[in-house]
């Protein structure tokens, strides 16, 4: 255990003196991950009560989920809403991030702050505001209402991620392309975009997840045939602890972990 007495940082502190920090951080990291991970084995339990470790394994909760038309329809709605939100928020957000970054206009900073407010203000306000508007236009329970509302929630993330990428991107490259005769659009598409594409992909993935995971807006705006998965889950949670939810949760954990891993892999590829 020689490493314990070696210096651990910029001061002469040794690992031994810092052991408590490692233990504390380790416990917190376990607490962050464990609750989500424990749901996975629970979902394979044969019992109606959530057990860990399960006494008997079974796939009955997955059969429950895949066999129920309501759950399947809700899943389809959530996937549709997620993909559409991604397709709306990513290009609009990337355009805005580019425009605000490049234009030296005094308004740019203020517009940026305005466009990221949706992540800071309570979602419930957006939810009831949009709900009220949709009631006036008789568009409640429509997919399009859900998608526009979710796009607003996803927009700040796209703006922040793509904006950060543009900040660390050397703009002289685009200028070089333009001085060689490329139009601004062509220079952006062939020179700038390929270099920030990993951030754009990350932003798109997060936009998808924002919509896919969203509960509050979906609770008000979606319904009937267009109920989302999270809306149905939330309603089921208020009633009782149905292990079917554990199965759905497991699938959602797999989806979001895959997205995270994809983002990490793309992020690595950048350097």
């Amino acid at each position: 255990m020689g490493w314990l007495d070696r210096p651990a940082g910029d001061t002469q502190i040794t690992h031994r003196q810092r052991l408590w920090l490692y233990v504390v951080a380790g416990v917190i990291m376990v607490l962050l991950v464990a609750p989500t991970v424990i749901v996975i084995p629970m979902s394979f339990s044969a019992s109606q009560y959530l057990e860990f470790p399960p006494r008997e394994w079974s796939l009955r909760w997955y059969e429950n989920y895949f066999g129920a038309p309501e759950w399947m329809q809700a899943t389809a709605t959530s996937l549709k809403a997620g993909v559409l939100t991604m397709l709306v928020a990513t290009p609009i957000g990337t355009m805005a991030a580019y425009g605000l970054h490049v234009s030296g206009h005094w308004l740019a900073r203020h517009l940026f702050i305005l466009l990221v407010t949706p992540i800071m203000i309570p979602v419930i306000l957006i939810a009831i505001g949009v709900f009220y508007a949709l009631v006036q236009f008789r568009m409640v329970n429509s997919l399009s209402g859900l998608v526009v509302a979710h796009s607003i929630l996803a927009l700040p993330l796209v703006l922040i991620i793509v904006g950060a990428a543009l900040k660390s991107y050397d703009f002289n490259q685009e200028l070089a392309a333009r001085s060689l005769g490329a139009s601004r659009l062509k220079a952006f598409l062939t020179v700038t975009l390929p270099q920030i594409r990993f951030s754009v992909i990350t932003a798109a993935l997060l936009a998808f997840l924002t919509s896919f995971d969203e509960v509050i807006v979906a609770m008000f705006v979606s319904g009937g045939d267009n109920s989302t998965l999270t809306r149905n889950m939330f309603n089921a949670l208020r009633d009782q602890i149905d292990p079917t939810i554990a199965a759905i949760s497991t699938i959602m954990i797999v989806v979001s972990s895959t997205a995270l891993i994809l983002a990490q892999v793309f992020g690595r590829a950048k350097t």
């Binding site: 951080a25 800071m120 949009v130 509960v215 954990i253």
Partner: protein, 300 residues
Amino acid sequence: MARPATIPDDGPNAALLRRDALRERRALLGLASPAVVLLMVVMVLPVGWLFYLSLIGEGGGFSMENYARMLESKAYGRIFMTTFHVSFLTTGICILLGYPLAYFLSQLPPRAATLCMLTVLLPFWTSLLVRTYAWLALLQRQGLVNTWAIDLGLWDTPVALVHNLNGTLIGMVHIMLPFLVLPLYAAMKAISGDYTRAAANLGAGPTQAFWHVFFPLSLPGLFAGALIVFVLCLGFFVTPAVLGGGKVIMVSMQITNNIELFFNWGAASALGVVLLAITLLILFAASRLLRLDAVLGGGH
């Protein structure tokens, strides 16, 4: 910083070039217009509408009764107290847990830091509903925590860990922690090691170097993270609704109740307006103390 549209101030055609450059700036700004239009239609107009609704009384005329009721009724006062109470506690616990974790992560070599960072990012990317459900399963009467604690002899009979304030706090801290750790970590990484090394060189022990040099430098990041957590807590809905078991009523839940149970748009809107005003006020006050766009990673 990018400056493609340089504005010339002298030379031939200066006036023309200048006009051209300004036009280009405006055109570039115009790229943000779809986003701004969407925001106007989906957020600004509906929220404006709510503001209008909050001023309409039950008789259908203009009235302040929705706000007056909020001041008079003890129930509303209690809901705001609960909201602040829960938000303060959550932020406080997040600081206590998040600071050591962010510090630990910031001290790791890059490869290990990336790996350990996944433990913060994984919950961050996982659905809030899924995480809330996980805590519900763990904390219930026959849940894992109670079973293990009884097996280990920590307590004899199952303790009520959920459907109350405890459960709400546990769930909310778990969900909010990444929001504190991520900006704090970024701020800590930006602190040059030279400062602590200089302190050590001048004779400060590790403890002194930390408290007198590193800690003050990390405060803006801590403040930013705590601000984000607090503001997000104020508008929280799902976790207190599921883990609070009806005992912890926060403002956003009351708004929902007003609409779903009582169909009272006026009361719901007034609550929403007050919640929004509090949120914006806090953000505004904070923006005087630190640059918000720097925290959010945008701007110039």
